[in-house]
Symmetry: D2
Subunit: 349 residues, 4 copies
């Protein structure tokens, strides 16, 4: 931590900051300059809470040298964490994992058809929402527990592990009962009660970046889950909010290599929400893999024009099959591999 | 709703859109232009779900004419809603209500001293957090239920009604038991499960705007509460996130007159979070009242340098007293009135 | 400057950074920590160019303690700069200066009527564009030199000094010839050639903040003008671009007290562009004055519905007169004064 | 254009809007709804100037159906424009063009070494700044005309065409004299005087997106150049400004497929400014090509640690050579081709 004093700070104000640092159990290192004095703090083992210092008279700014997160950091654990979604489906290794399926579970027919179609094209996990966070209270809110049952049925039919969203603690317990991975959506990225709840569970968690969350905040939210005891976290870039409305979101692929440098947690990308426009999903899914993402999660619907939610950003099954072809080539170009659906070979479903 | 077709859309694509609109129970009005065809939709009584249309072949864009919210709209209810926090403390009328107190409840001594100080200066309600949403799992998380008990004690001592935050459903029930108004924080603005839960309660709700929420989304979140049966909602502008880090947030005072035109719900402003810097709180509190806010909520701490959270943005009691003087004059300039603490006159506390 | 090393930086990398700092003529102060080493730099008299250091192996981050600007800083000059626009019209003192007029100069009749109307209501300077930066090449681009002549005529009629925009060096010379203050618009805030050109002139400059410029960048652009020899700069907050499209811009009034702490240059606010909506101009003009702005610049048009540009955000003359009443009271509440049009008393015009 | 009336607009206000539309020479189509009336406008051949309508009493909102640009639109010209930078170096076709070189021209030795290195690795054009827009007036501003002479020398040595930036009209004329392509930087994207000036020249223009420019605004700025007579425009995504400071900019690769749908102009990407961090340049350059960019422009310096500007984001020559290998494979995966330096085969340089 570095405390920068105002240029006109009195010597007594500098000393008061030093004394406060000493009271906190650390050692102050004053560095007088021509313009102003700065005071370094040494002796800490991690981030220092600056609340005692930041409002002291004469303090202009407090700069942090240590990162605010700990267990999610690559400094804490050097090797990338491997998160297993199902038999042979591991996120964070050489394989690029593809999770595909409709926005919402709508019916048995729809979810089973979706699961078969995405498995045929090469997806290794199935997505589909049973609990849907919608900005309007009057929109379709998902099938709830019935949706989870249908997802379980689709898994039985195809062998694909299931990723689905939970919106609150009660829902998270239900999701943990039925699904292979609990997804936390963008709007709940800083729902700390929910983060703590899934941190106490034994299921992998897919944590999506908030609409206006910094990368540091995404990592801090993951820290909540690890701090509560669950190390199986997959991060997900899904587009953020900016000044331009040309796409539904701005897809921040810079986040992929940045997170991979800062954290050992795997990170995937969601080009469906990252663009919000069907004809942009394919190029941006390719870009995500080229940027080094550990996987993608993508919306595919057997009949997008009749989808109850997000139809406009869902791929047709044949578009998805074409995309998978391109992804295999691009993964190869950077010495990675698009995971194959082993289950198909094993005759499951 | 207006469906804008691509310039090269085929006549059959235009007709397919018209047919879909008819299937939805509305009437299409095609408007051929030199560049492209647009198709109006009439016969709706409120917002139309565009999910069946937006992904159809040939559709370039769907524009909405109706607002996505209903019960929060001034078109639904013309007169501003009056929300009563306590005896004589009404938000939304001619009075500008001032809610003040520390960021967190820390101890009996601290909260009672705070309550006395803010009442003496003229505040008419007390704020103070018992459940604190913190970006780090390692930061002080509030005193929980004990904090609520201390707030109730401070109310007993001073007569000031209490506003305090809830972070989840269980917490909301506790808060409703002890406090006069349930605050939902910026990070939970789109926690729909929580919105529905407080919508079923009989207590006033103070709903803060999310860090990157549009005004429309703020209103949609309030709609969740009203749709669940609770009409006592106060909105709060507390600063949003932008590209500039000169202040903790960018305080969007435009939101005050914009919300007042669109909605009948009262709106207050939080200059403490809106700036994050003590010496900016006073000018921006004045600005909020000049812009027409129905109240302000402001952090005041008897000893900010020793506060366990947000010390750097808390006013000293004497700064707050000075601010109150200026607010009285400014409210007078726009034919409003800063509410007086009636309780003092009644000899309470 | 503080150089933060990666947690796994080698001792040789730390030494290489220290050596580079010595080569630059400064003194390194290494501060080893549990997590990582940081290296302070002392001996500098102002901001240090970090380009030699930032890319060295092992460097994680470079933090700057000194501000990047110099002559615009309050540390350089403690008293607020007073900029004189015309006889008795001084920006930066106790007077709050009101500059008003139409977006564009359209005709002799229009500009003279505007000037008379705004002077009657109490404005002390006249605005009006002769060179208009328009996002479309097909929109009205202003009357050019003829517009300047008409402004000069309006000044002759009313005694009001003139503020008008220049878009390039040739235009700036023309504007300097006719007007009392050269305005640089938001889109040209980082047009460094133009900044240098007006820096060589002897006229006051009104520098508007760019659409996505940080406050630091606004000050750096002003630094260009001062560095070229012209100390008469007025800054202007005019709204920035964010994720919300509810208003044309987000009006960042936090900038007023922030700039006033950092710089000695006066700062005014433009509620017309800051909101873009006529019925929001009045409350936000009041808010700007309550926040401590040294003045406002506001669009007023004798017939807004027939304006050739920005009609929707221009006040009717009678709205402007009402606004002036409120501003006088609010200025009084914070011990300031709305400047009066002395010229009227002197019988000019 | 669609004019949406307030829900309480009077019939006379609706009629006044209709009459204004008729006065403008178009035909109004009123569409009364349950909530409010909307009025379509037909008979226009392109975008309609809404300034007469937007401020009329009772008008809530004006929505535009036509795009504000014309000549840059794919509706105006269906085939992608091919821009020739030099013999065999064409942007916009099947070839992905790689433009590489240092941020600034620093010396003859440096620019010639850079040119040789990037040509050896497979670049087909050379970048390098002679006029540098710097946020500080005290930073290195480029070698000016001498820099242009050195670039011409490097071209003579290697056969690589030259792309370099102009900051004002006088500079643009000099650049046009020496270089093969005039670059306009992000800060000048809305410098309309400069756009018009290069629009009158016969040289290709590389137009970079502004720091907070929407895609529509980027296209409008290109429209200025085409409207002035110069159709040889290459667009460039170079990162935009958002709330996150984890990277220097947020690299908006969504812009690539979005622009390619809306416009016939080729678009390239700049991963150096798009990330600002050397170790992020390689993955994001790959992502740009995977997203379908028509080329990339990338900073490569023979000795980045000694660069006078942007050293921290410049690739080492050997990193660049490795990147080129990956780009060839990725381009192949999407049926494109990384252009080869024909000149080398021809024995030039």
């Amino acid at each position: 931590m570095l405390v920068v004093m105002h240029h006109d700070a009195a010597a007594s104000e500098v000393e008061a900051v030093c004394q406060t640092i000493r009271d906190m159990g650390y050692q102050p290192v004053p560095m007088p300059g021509e313009q102003r004095t700065a005071i370094g703090l040494i002796g800490n083992e991690g981030p220092v809470d600056d609340s005692q210092v930041v409002g002291l008279p004469g303090v202009a700014q407090v700069l942090h040298v240590s990162k605010p997160y700990k267990q999610v950091s690559r400094e804490w654990k050097a090797e990338t964490t491997l998160v297993t979604l199902g038999p042979g489906v591991v996120v964070g290794g050489r394989d690029v994992v593809v999770i595909a399926g409709p926005c919402s579970v709508e019916s048995e027919e729809q979810i089973v058809a979706s699961a078969r179609a995405v498995r045929a094209a090469g997806a290794t996990a199935l997505r589909g929402g049973a609990f849907k966070p919608r900005s309007s209270p009057y929109s379709f809110q998902g099938l709830g527990k019935r949706g989870l049952e249908l997802l379980a049925l689709a898994r039985q039919e195809t062998g694909l592990p299931i990723v689905t969203e939970a919106m609150d603690e009660a829902g998270a317990e239900l999701v943990a009962e039925y699904a292979d991975c609990i997804q936390l959506g963008a709007r709940n990225m800083q729902n700390y009660s929910l983060l703590r709840a899934v941190g106490r569970m034994k299921k992998p968690v897919l944590l999506k970046r908030g609409l206006a969350a910094t990368i540091t905040e995404l990592l801090m939210s993951a820290e909540y889950i690890l701090a509560a005891g669950n190390p199986q976290v997959i991060l997900c870039e899904r587009g953020v909010r900016t000044f331009d409305s040309a796409a539904r979101n701005m897809f921040d692929l810079n986040a992929i290599p940045i997170v991979q440098r800062l954290s050992h947690l795997p990170i995937i990308a969601d080009p469906s929400h990252g663009t919000g426009l069907r004809d942009k999903v394919t190029p941006m899914a390719r870009a995500a893999v080229a940027a080094g993402a550990d996987g993608i999660i993508v919306e595919v619907h057997p009949n997008p024009d009749r989808a109850l939610s997000d139809g406009a950003q869902s791929l047709f099954p044949e578009q998805f099959a074409q995309l998978m072809e391109a992804l295999r080539l691009i993964a190869g170009a950077i010495d990675r591999n698009v995971a194959s659906p082993l289950h198909a070979e094993l005759g499951i479903g």
